[in-house]
Structures are given as structure tokens and as C-alpha cells.
């Protein structure tokens, strides 16, 4: 075990899987950087936020492939190469760019296996940044996971800590289906214990990050950190259980329902915009399958139904906060 950043954990997962399996390659924009430049230029960037740093230098231009600014071509490159037997990991940089290339993901890669009657596997990963809090405004700060989760054929991973970032990415790369791997940009510099060597964190298995008996908080991605903070704040006063589903598709509804059956009180925190998001999904699952367990109305905490504002104070107000979560816990506990 060693303490690593979220960024280092992702880099390590990529490196180890590329060493393990020759069919794994990376493709995207400036994941190497400096292509076409002077001798020292190629590989000098390693991604806009340094996540792929050093990989070009170790694996070269056939395994770490920089491209023109052509996301449909990049996604098609991954989907087509996967059909042809490779294991591509494509970077979309900011997932907000999915709007220019989603067809290759949702109509093509996600549907091949079904449309082709089970003939094919499509082992590809699409990595990209999500989330607000970085000051990157309306077109570079979105959550978007409800959209990816809605699409049959896609799997969606949303790690909240370095250990899961590494373990889920290794699982994603080894998975035979297309996986959307979402990296919350505000988490890159967060640190945590990361087991040494190779390990795969399975999809569809929620992680209970805090055990408790009074209130269940289901939180996604960065919101898990806030939920944990609130659980710790309230320790001794209100016993809060925090459930981190880790993947939104598949979604571990079992662990969520078990938790609610024990606590009888549910709060769901999703940074995504509110309509048809994961908080709605989780509350709907509990209401249809375990309503009898609820001692109080569940509480949904999400961003408002607005784009992400540029101004730092507005952006902070946009993101669900630990204080809002704490108030919600007190409210639902009192009910």
C-alpha cells in the first residue's frame, strides 16, 4: 500500500495494463503531445492535465497515439479497432465533447453486439474528465453520467478515490464491452491508499465507505467525499451509512436496498443536473422495490437545472455541498 494521487492511480493502471497486454493502446489528443515537433517534443505533455505523462516515452507512438482534433474519428478508431481485436483506451479529454462524436459511441460501439446477434465483443474504454468545481464553465464542467447510463450497451464507471480509480480502470480495460470511464477533474490531486500491483475492482459492486444505522446516503463520484465528511462530522450524533455505487451502469441496487432496509432513511446526492439523473434512478428503485422500508420521504440533492456558471461563487452554489448534505441528514433523521 502506498499513498498516491487519483491522477497517479489512473496513470499506473494504464501503464500496468499496457505492459501486461500488447493489444491495449491509447489514442486521443495530446496524450503524448508535441507530435510533429522538434526532437524532444513528442511525449512532452502527457495529456492536458498530465494523466498520461510518461506513457509515450515508455510505449512509443504505436501505443500512445496522438490525433488531429477529430473526436468522431477517435471514437470510431477505438470502436473499429475493438471489433478488430484490439483493446483501445480512447481519451475524450473533457467528456463535454461527446456532443460531436456520440454516434460512434451510442449507436455504434454500444449496439454492435446486440445488432450483430452476439457475434462481436467491443472491448474499448472511453476516458474523460467530468464535473464542476474547476472554473472551466458551461462546456467543460458537466457531469453527463445520466446520459451515458441511459444507453444500453454502455457501462459507466465513476470512481471517487485513487484506489477505485486504478481498480475500476483495470476492470474497464479488461472488460469485453464498451466502458465510459469518468474522471472527476477536481479529484485528480486528491490522495489515498492504493494497493500495490495489479488488482481489478469489479463493476456493479457498491462500496460502503461509511457504515451506519440511522440514515443512508447514496453518493456518486466526488459527492462521496462530501458524504463521508458529513458522516464523520455527525459521528456519535447520527449514524450515517455512505454507499458509493462506483459504477452507475451496472448499478448495484442490492446494496442500496439492503442499506435502506436497515436505516429506513435515504438521501441521494448526485452532482448531475436533476432531471432523469442517478438520484432520480436510485430513489425510483427504492420506491418501487422497497418503499415499505422507508420511514421518511427520501431526499434528493443535485445541481440545479442550469448550465454550469463561470463565476466561482455561482459555481460553488451550483455544486451540492457538505453543508446541504448535513442539513438533509438532520431533516430526514428528524422526520
Amino acid at each position: 500500500m502506498a499513498i498516491k494521487t487519483f491522477r497517479e492511480a489512473i496513470n499506473e493502471a494504464l501503464r500496468e495494463e499496457m505492459r501486461r497486454d500488447d493489444s491495449v493502446f491509447l489514442i486521443g489528443e495530446d496524450i503524448a503531445g508535441g507530435m510533429g515537433g522538434h526532437d524532444g517534443a513528442p511525449g512532452s505533455s502527457g495529456g492536458m492535465l498530465g494523466v498520461t505523462r510518461g506513457l509515450y516515452n515508455e510505449f512509443g507512438s504505436d501505443r500512445v497515439i496522438d490525433t488531429p482534433i477529430s473526436e468522431s474519428a477517435i471514437m470510431g478508431a477505438a470502436a473499429g479497432a475493438a471489433l478488430a481485436g484490439m483493446r483501445p483506451v480512447a481519451e475524450l479529454m473533457f467528456m463535454d465533447f461527446f456532443g460531436v462524436c456520440f454516434d460512434q459511441i451510442y449507436n455504434q460501439a454500444a449496439k454492435f453486439r446486440y445488432m450483430f446477434g452476439g457475434q462481436s465483443n467491443t472491448p474499448m474504454v472511453v476516458r474523460g474528465m467530468v464535473g464542476a468545481g474547476f472554473g472551466s464553465a458551461a462546456q467543460h464542467s458537466q457531469a453527463l453520467w445520466p446520459i451515458f447510463t441511459h444507453v444500453p450497451g454502455l457501462k459507466v464507471a465513476l470512481p471517487s478515490c485513487p484506489a477505485d480509480a486504478k481498480g475500476l480502470l483495470i476492470s474497464a480495460i479488461r472488460d469485453e464491452d464498451p466502458v465510459i470511464f469518468l474522471e472527476h477533474k477536481v479529484l485528480y490531486d486528491t490522495k489515498g491508499e492504493v494497493p500495490d500491483g495489479e488488482y481489478a475492482t469489479p463493476f456493479g459492486i457498491a462500496n460502503v465507505t461509511r457504515e451506519g444505522e440511522d440514515v443512508t446516503i447514496v453518493a456518486f463520484g466526488r459527492m462521496v467525499l462530501f458524504a463521508n465528511e458529513v458522516a464523520d462530522r455527525l459521528a456519535g450524533e447520527i449514524s450515517v451509512e455512505v454507499v458509493d455505487p462506483r459504477t452507475t451502469s451496472p448499478l448495484d441496487t442490492e446494496v442500496i436496498i439492503e442499506s435502506v432496509e436497515c436505516t429506513g432513511r435515504l438521501i441521494v446526492v448526485d452532482e448531475a443536473n436533476p432531471m432523469c439523473n442517478l438520484a432520480s434512478e436510485v430513489i425510483s428503485v427504492v420506491a418501487t422495490e422497497a418503499i415499505g422500508a422507508l420511514k421518511a420521504a427520501p431526499i434528493k440533492l443535485s445541481a440545479p437545472h442550469t448550465p454550469v456558471p463561470a463565476a466561482p461563487n455561482l459555481e460553488q452554489a451550483y455544486i451540492p455541498s457538505a453543508d446541504e448534505i448535513e442539513q438533509a441528514v438532520r431533516r430526514v433523521f428528524a422526520a
Binding site: M86, Q119, D177
Partner: protein, 319 residues
């Protein structure tokens, strides 16, 4: 090209013509579910492009994909089952006309998204390049699809990464009900060339012309020179889809095409001149093919629908 190879090419073109003709008849009879776009008039393109390709060469196809499938070696019996959406279809009846595929044959699927094929073919080409194989990938695109951003961006992308990718642009003069000249003032071959790839325009009703251009493109790809574009000028004899009233077409246009632009007639004439086949041999192939397709269609009509349990299978390899 030797005689055996030429007769094989003719047989494949005839197989496409016969298959599409019988599907057209069945569609009119109401036995073919959903939308269907037929390939009649363009047979020389699919066969000219695919004739020398093997299962390790890939093609990505379009909504008008039956011809590409047959040319790439897909079984017409399984294809017929798929078009009728029956159990045992090449995609278990879950794909239908616009998603027909046989990955084991390197046929990565018809595609209901115009421009959807080029990026995928680019991915297959990338896999070939990374594995150092002496193979190619082909992106089929219509003259309408050539105006879709995905097709255009893939042309630059493939040139930038020197992918062993061949764009087979099928210029049949129409995109749905719109004339190609209206939709694209520029010349499609010049457009491709401007991205820095080898680009040529050939008579898409002449198998030998397409085949020769393809040989040049494959050689370039194998020698690491990157992508090529072959614009094949051919004609579409049927409507955009079956049932299309085609009011946008001048009266008599199609009759003239049947008379003057028949890829099979042209093939017979040229091949006969080149001593690559005789009338007797061609006629024998025609009869044989008609019989094969008739059997395939009858079997497909008689086959049962997929089992209802198939609704929930094949979404994920694991979930």
C-alpha cells in the same frame, strides 16, 4: 486476372443482382419487415472492391449494404434469414437489413447512420497498422455520405495517421431524393485528394476499372503510404428505399440505365472479349445463382421468428 477469378467475380455480381431482385419482389409482397435499400446497379463497385480481399481485410458498410455483404463473402442463406428477421439469421434476426454483419468475414456491418462507417473502418485500419498486417480496411460511403462531417474528418484523420484505409465512394447521383450536384458543388475526388491522399475517379459500372483502382490502392496501403480514395460512378436502379415513388427522377431515366449502364452486361462483354468467359458459362452461373437465391428466400420465408428470450441477450458480453 485468370478465368476462374473472373467467373467468380461474375458469379458474385449476379448473386447480388439476383438476391436484391428477389428481395424487391418479396418486399412488394409485404413479407420483408422494415426499411430496405437495394444495391442493384452498383454491383461492380462492391465486387470490384472486395474481389481480392480476405477475411482479415475489413469493410464497413452503409444502409445499402446487401451487396457489400455478398461481395465480402457473407452467406446469402443467413442473409435472407436476417432480412426476414428470422431465427438463425446472420444476426439472429436482431439486426435486419441495415445492421447485417459478419465479423468473422471482416464485414463490420451495414450501418443505418450515414457517415457512420468511415470512422469504424478507420479503427479497423488502425488495428491492421498496429499489428503490422498486410491487410486493408475499406470504408464504403455514398456520394451523400461524403458530405457528412464524420466522413470528411476521417479522410484527414486517416491521412494524418497513414492508415491502410480505402474510401470507396459510391457516386450514384442521389442522396435519398436529393441530387448529388445540389448537395456537393465540389468534386468528391478533388476533395479527397486535397486531404493529401491518392484519389481517383472510376467507372463504377465497370468491374475491371474498380478492380484495377483497388489494386493500386491496396499496394499503396501495404507499402505504408496511407489512405486512398476511389470514387466509383455508378447508378441506382431502384428507389432510395423500396416503395419510393421516385417523383424526383425524370421519366425513363431508369429504363435508360438498365439499357446502357448494366454492370453485368458490361462484365459479360468485356470478359468475353478478354476470353475470361463464354455466354454458356455466364448463363450457367445465372441459372445456378437463381436457384441458390430462390432456395435461400424460400427457406427464410418458412423459418420461425426468433425465440422471445432473444430480446434480452447480447446486450453485454458480461454485466
Amino acid at each position: 486476372m485468370n478465368k476462374e477469378s473472373a467467373l467468380r467475380a461474375y458469379r458474385t455480381m449476379r448473386l447480388i443482382r439476383e438476391f436484391e431482385t428477389q428481395i424487391a419482389r418479396e418486399f412488394a409482397a409485404g413479407t420483408v419487415p422494415g426499411m430496405t435499400h437495394l444495391y442493384i446497379g452498383q454491383e461492380a463497385v462492391a465486387v470490384g472492391v472486395c474481389h481480392e480481399l480476405g477475411n482479415d481485410d475489413f469493410i464497413a458498410s452503409t444502409h445499402r449494404g446487401h451487396g457489400h455483404c455478398i461481395a465480402k463473402g457473407c452467406d446469402v442463406g443467413l442473409m435472407a434469414l436476417e432480412l426476414f428477421r428470422k431465427e438463425g439469421g446472420i444476426c439472429k434476426g436482431k439486426g435486419g437489413s441495415m445492421h447485417i454483419a459478419d465479423v468473422s468475414k471482416g464485414m463490420l456491418g451495414a450501418n443505418a447512420i450515414v457517415g457512420g462507417a468511415s470512422p469504424l473502418a478507420g479503427g479497423a485500419a488502425l488495428a491492421i497498422k498496429l499489428r503490422g498486417q498486410a491487410n486493408v480496411a475499406v470504408a464504403f460511403a455514398g456520394d451523400g455520405a461524403a458530405n457528412q462531417g464524420t466522413t470528411l474528418e476521417e479522410m484527414n484523420f486517416a491521412a494524418s495517421l497513414k492508415l491502410p484505409l480505402i474510401f470507396a465512394i459510391e457516386s450514384n447521383g442521389y442522396g435519398e431524393h436529393t441530387l448529388a450536384d445540389y448537395a456537393a458543388p465540389g468534386d468528391l475526388t478533388e476533395r479527397a485528394a486535397a486531404f493529401g491522399m491518392a484519389a481517383e475517379k472510376v467507372d463504377g459500372t465497370d468491374f475491371f476499372a474498380v478492380h484495377a483502382a483497388m489494386e493500386r490502392a491496396v499496394k499503396r496501403a501495404h507499402s505504408g503510404k496511407g489512405p486512398s480514395s476511389i470514387e466509383c460512378v455508378a447508378t441506382r436502379w431502384h428507389g432510395h428505399f423500396e416503395g419510393d415513388p421516385q417523383l424526383y427522377r425524370p421519366k425513363g431515366e431508369v429504363d435508360a440505365l438498365r439499357r446502357n449502364s448494366d454492370p453485368l452486361k458490361k462484365f459479360r462483354a468485356t470478359a468475353t472479349k478478354k476470353k475470361l468467359g463464354t455466354k454458356k458459362e455466364f448463363d450457367a452461373i445465372d441459372a445456378d445463382v437463381e436457384n441458390e437465391v430462390t432456395k435461400a428466400v424460400e427457406a427464410a420465408l418458412a423459418a420461425p421468428q426468433p425465440d422471445l428470450s432473444e430480446l434480452l441477450t447480447d446486450v453485454y458480453a458480461t454485466y
